[in-house]
Amino acid sequence: MINRMNHVSIYVLDQNSAYDFYVGKLGFKVHTDAQMGPGMRWLTVCPPDQPDLEIILMPIVKGMAFTEETAEQMRQLVQKGTFGFGVFQCNDIYATYEELKAKGVEFSKPPKEEFYGVEALFKDDSGNWFSLGQKPKK
């Protein structure tokens, strides 16, 4: 029986820029940031209240599961905003929305009541989309 997920990867165009976005703007914590040999940096971050979920900020480079050709294709797809990677939860979506906007995060949808809760949409510095959600208050 599978209980939990503890690693998930997000493909990013530039790890330094992704670090600034996920740590500096979203407020995530760095779990591991280590050079792993020539040209490879293992960089994982966690949402502040979820230290056991490592989000791997995976660079799209040749040799990382990609050939030069597929890496270029993947970079273009990410830049175009092709991928929606997940839903981040927060306690107060209006405050979080205001904070992230003040920090320069790009939203395509402000908080809006949906049948599953309040939701906003933003993208990271690479072009990956995420929902920002707040569970309906009981």
């Binding site: 050079q35 020539p38 904070e99 402000p110 908080p111």
Partner: protein, 146 residues
Amino acid sequence: MNEAYPRMYLYRRIVQAKIYIDAYYGSDLDIDNIADEACFSKFHFIRLFKEIYGKTPHQYLVDVRIHHACTLLATGTSVTDTCYKVGFESVGSFSSLFSKVTGFSPSRYAANKLLMKEAIQEVPLQFIPGCFTDKNGYNNSNFQEA
């Protein structure tokens, strides 16, 4: 705007206060001054801040300071320098609070991080789940043993 988000005006002021704490956690921050900056009475400010962030401004400030202390210690900054850089005034109270929050003394925390860093550099593949290495051919590419 206010019709769509009736509490937005209040939110913005509280959010600005949080961003202020995020930026100036290393200074001698006074919650009274932050409340004044946000144009709230201290009591009202603390109540609204806690309602939004689930902790008082002071608790949040301590969390931010400890978080940044972890980063500094992990990158080789001394315990004393870390203490003052993140805004604590006494190494004793910093160490005590740090231990309470993280479960490790600052020096033990730093030593653990250093050991981990050395181990990763020595055998990097041991620290990466197999689906990112074996199944994707990383073993023979960038994920080489240092």
